[in-house]
Amino acid sequence: MSDSTSNIISSILSGLGATVYATVGGVALTIVLAFVAGLAMLSPSRTVRVISRIYVEGFRGTSEVVQLFWLFFVLPALVGFKLVPLFAGIIVLGLNHGAYGAEIVRGAVQSVPRAQQEGAVALSLSPAQRMRRVILPQAVVEMLPPFNNLFIQLMKSTALLYFISAGEITEKGELLRPVYGSRLVLIYGVELLCYLAIAVVITFIMRTLERVLSRRLGRAMPTRQRAWARAGAPG
């Protein structure tokens, strides 16, 4: 391997850490926000429902790139301190995809047959117990495939952190471009492979989780068209 080849590969791989951190951090925040906002949308309290609705529609309706610019360039001027780029990126990724995830959670909880809820009432479980022990275990299995799409979508969105110089893969590649103008195929090829690899890992984890959790419910794993990585568009 020539010097420039190994230099290019190691430069891009040095951004892999930031991309993975952004993905994992974003996914963690997404899960928390999706459950909080998704369950809040089903709350008996009108105020709680309205607040969660505003969050969901607000973050789905404004562009993710604009949100990133706002948090990174406007907020510091308002509050007087700047966020670390990677941290700002994780917050935007989480807030944005959390809004999409909230709809997934709401839809999955609503798709649990009414009889399950009634059965839990008949067993005189408390509302919290009904949700935690009866509704959610069934709803979560339904959420996994759409969450798989959402997480791959989030992983792809980490490339946007290029705009705030968070040191992830895309930015590393663009820093190399002016220096190695004749090696662009290698630069972009390595970048694409990195993202593909992460997508495959996400899909593998989600499919495994789906298999384990369906088995625990005594269901067979639904057969779906085989694909090594399934991504949908931001909803």
């Binding site: 529609e57 607000g58 789905r60 309706g61 404004t62 562009s63 993710e64 790139v65 604009v66 949100q67 610019f69 706002w70 360039f73 406007v74 001027a77 308002l78 791959i152 792809k156 969105s157 980490t158 490339a159 946007l160 290029y162 705009f163 895309t170 590649g173 663009e174 471009r177 662009l184 195929v185 972009y188 970048e191 694409l192 993202y195 593909l196 997508a199 694909a227 090594w228 990585a229 991504a231 949908g232 568009a233 931001p234 909803g235």
Partner: protein, 218 residues
């Protein structure tokens, strides 16, 4: 930093100019995605050795990797290799069109599969030529069902266009950035940019939801 209304009114014309570019990108990009997506779906269905498999691989790679990198690949790698220099706008339309075609291909596939088998059999029984089967029987039934999904992808694309400022497209966000750089006041232009996105995408998504309900009754 306080909100300055005079500055807001000053910024609006320029932002609207940018919004027009964003909308043009979205509409042309979506049309390209709708046409290409159907082509992709038909190629995959045709089961042509090698070509159909390559199509599958292409779709999976494009939809699992960031649009931003695909924009860079087209702009910095593909155009020079072809010895042509299309504008940033054209590059944006093509990148958006190809990326979203990999989603719409899946939408068409599902739509085509949802056409009952009896329709195929009836068309065969009438010994319609292959082309008539598609244009006269299958697609007229498959396409209306997928219209809401296609509409949703247009809204998604609309919200993703600002990443094209990386190659210098003068859209809403870029106009906001321009304003901010000129006056050092970033609050108003970026906030307005976000509001403009919301003002268009929220009503559109309600419209698509209504369409979904109507198609659901088909």
């Amino acid at each position: 930093m306080t909100w300055n209304w005079d500055y807001v009114w000053e910024s609006i014309p320029l932002l609207l100019e940018g919004l027009l570019v964003t909308l043009e990108l979205t509409v042309v990009g979506s049309l390209l995605a709708y046409v290409l997506g159907l082509v992709f779906a038909l190629i995959r269905r045709a089961r042509i050795p090698v070509l159909s498999q390559l199509m599958y691989l292409f779709i999976e790679v494009v939809r699992s990797t960031p649009l931003l990198i695909q924009v860079f690949i087209i702009f910095y790698l593909l155009w020079p290799a072809l010895h042509i220099t299309p504008s940033a706008f054209v590059t944006g339309v093509i990148a958006l069109g190809i990326h979203y075609a990999t989603y719409t291909a899946e939408v068409y596939r599902a739509g085509i599969e949802a056409v009952p088998k009896g329709q195929w059999e009836a068309a065969t029984a009438l010994s319609l030529p292959r082309q008539r089967v598609w244009t006269g029987v299958i697609l007229p039934q498959a396409v209306p069902r997928v219209v809401p999904a296609l509409g949703n992808y247009m809204i998604s694309m609309f919200k993703e266009t600002p990443l094209l400022i990386s190659i210098g497209v003068l859209d809403v966000l870029n106009r906001a950035k321009e304003q901010g750089a000129e006056t050092f006041q970033v609050l108003e232009p970026y906030t307005l940019a976000g509001i403009l996105f919301l003002l268009i995408s929220y009503p559109s998504s309600i419209l698509v939801r209504r369409l979904e309900r109507r198609v659901g009754q088909l």
